[in-house]
Amino acid sequence: MTFDEILQKLQSQFPNAILGTEDSKPDRAIKVAPFDIPTVIRYLKEELRFETLGDLCAVDYPALPAFCVVYHLQSYAHKTLVCLKAYLPRENGASLPSITSLFKAANWFEREAYDMVGIGFSGHPDMRRILCPEDWVGHPLRKDYVTPDYYNGMPVPLFFEEQTPSEQGEHSK
């Protein structure tokens, strides 16, 4: 099943949800309206035999400005991969529906997307940070993220060049 066939089927099934394609090289992607993501993915999973969620990640585009959530669905039957993209407005409370009910793999992927870029997923059973500590401030993979100087009183960038030579001498003794 080629990309164009998938696109055609999706367009005839969901004329309002499919917003077009993104013809980047070498992989193309289908743009989907954010709130139709679960229905489109359910159709792909149940009718077109895309059994597995290969990947889910979020990308920050401050230039657009938008957040983008990228879904890669994988099919063992067709030996192919399809990429869906949902663009969200770039604001702090941005969220889109969760697909944990369709793929259990989405549980941790969505938690990671929340942790790293700060996108909420409504309907997610356990929306917590996954890689960063619970009390970490900010979302590191946003392009405007500034590394904090201190975390719980500990200096974050551990450059010992900043210390004066006399201090270093005392520590080493």
Binding site: C57, C83, F103
Partner: protein, 387 residues
């Protein structure tokens, strides 16, 4: 026998029902030898039975994705090595293939041969580690020493070829960093002859040992539906009987030209998709890897070992999602490039991340000792889980 259900259903059931036990919250890890790294599992136990096992990750998070946005494409390669530090060659190959696919660099045939040889040797080394530590989890110490003895031989060959023992930075975009020397070829051939009979020996030592079988059969069973739902790949997928291997089904590099089998689990000792099935798939994969190396080692063509690549790799704007088959599953790199020298966004989809996320589901209602067996059979590397 080893499942708690049979225990409850048997003659003990009445007395067990009368026993009132308190639920106990048990923190396993992050400094626990059987968690294979800094994994923390919050286990809720009812007596000896696990009610809930929630893995908590992030103790080895090294911001791979953030780092990659700040270095150029060649500079990401050393970071990629550190993801799955037991299979650096395979990871680096995945990164190199992803970037080459975007730029359109043609890799010389000699480099392709060398890449396949080292990545299959690395697969053996990685599976040996898994085999050894799995024995250690089950209380069989001997297998661990044997596995490390043989892994050492592979690492010696790699040190000779690349100059490092663990984090090689050997596969560069466009080819490999150094050419393979005739001495290294001789050493690899020597290793192949040495290692071929050893696999059967290890199977006799551990895999077909009755005590080991009793510990691992019918434990940590993953069925095909769970497998698809969690997006499991690699040995986990093949262990439950699905014949899917990227090397065979969507061949990259020169895997089309080599002849090998894809071993799958068949439920020989118990249920399909149990820990023993996953273990034996790894053992059989080592044999297939040996077969691949044997086919290639005599036919390395002459030519350059690296294609024409500038000092700075210029990647045109675009995005690509490329997958490769690593010892622990499909490692995928999703690269978004905006045409500058540094990637705009790098996403690493690691197989271990998904493998460990199944733990809660497959370990409900098992004994605490079986939880250790299950974690061991997932064969996770925390460097790759946390990235």
């Amino acid at each position: 026998m080893s499942t708690p259900h049979s225990l409850v259903e048997g003659h003990l059931s009445e007395s067990v029902e009368n026993l009132r036990t308190d639920e106990l919250l048990l923190n396993m890890g992050p400094q626990h030898p059987s968690t294979h790294g800094v994994l923390r599992v919050v286990v809720t136990t009812d007596g000896e039975i696990v009610k809930e096992a929630k893995p908590e990750i992030g103790y080895l998070h090294r911001c791979f994705e953030k780092h990659s946005e700040n270095v150029d494409y060649m500079g990401v390669a050393p970071y990629v090595d550190r993801l799955d530090y037991l299979a650096s060659m395979n990871n680096a190959m995945g990164w190199a293939i992803a970037v080459e696919g975007m730029v359109g660099i043609e890799v010389p045939r000699r480099a392709e041969f060398i890449r396949l040889i080292v990545s299959e040797l690395q697969r053996i080394a990685s599976h040996l580690m898994s085999f050894g530590t799995y024995g250690l989890d089950m209380g069989a110490f001997t297998a661990f020493l044997y596995a490390f003895r043989d892994r050492e031989k592979i690492l010696d060959i790699f040190e000779m070829m690349s100059g490092a023992r663990l984090l090689y930075n050997y596969m560069w975009v466009g080819g490999v960093a150094r050419d393979i020397s005739p001495e290294a070829v001789a050493r690899i051939k020597e290793f192949l002859d040495y290692f071929e009979p050893k696999i059967d020996e290890y199977n006799n030592l551990l895999s077909f040992n009755k005590i080991f079988i009793e510990r691992t059969k019918n434990v940590g069973v993953i069925d095909q539906e769970t497998c698809h739902s969690y997006g499991l790949t690699g040995v986990m997928l093949r262990g439950c009987g699905i014949r899917w291997d990227l090397r065979k089904d969507l061949p990259y590099s020169i895997y089309k030209e080599v002849d090998f089998e894809v071993p799958v689990g068949s439920g020989e000792m118990g249920t399909l998709g149990d820990c023993w099935d996953r273990h034996i798939v790894r053992m059989r994969e080592m044999k297939e890897s040996l077969r691949i190396v044997r086919q290639l080692i005599d036919k390395i063509p002459a030519g350059p070992h690296r294609g024409k690549v500038g000092k700075v790799v210029k990647v045109p704007a675009g995005e690509s999602f490329s997958r490769t088959e690593c010892p622990r599953g499909e490692l995928a790199f999703y690269i978004i490039s905006d045409g500058s020298a540094k990637p705009y966004r790098v996403r690493c989809k690691s197989p271990c991340f998904l493998n460990i996320s199944t733990l809660d589901e497959i370990s409900r209602g098992v004994m605490v000792a079986d939880l250790i067996a299950t974690i061991g059979s997932l064969d996770i590397v925390l460097g790759e889980v946390d990235r």
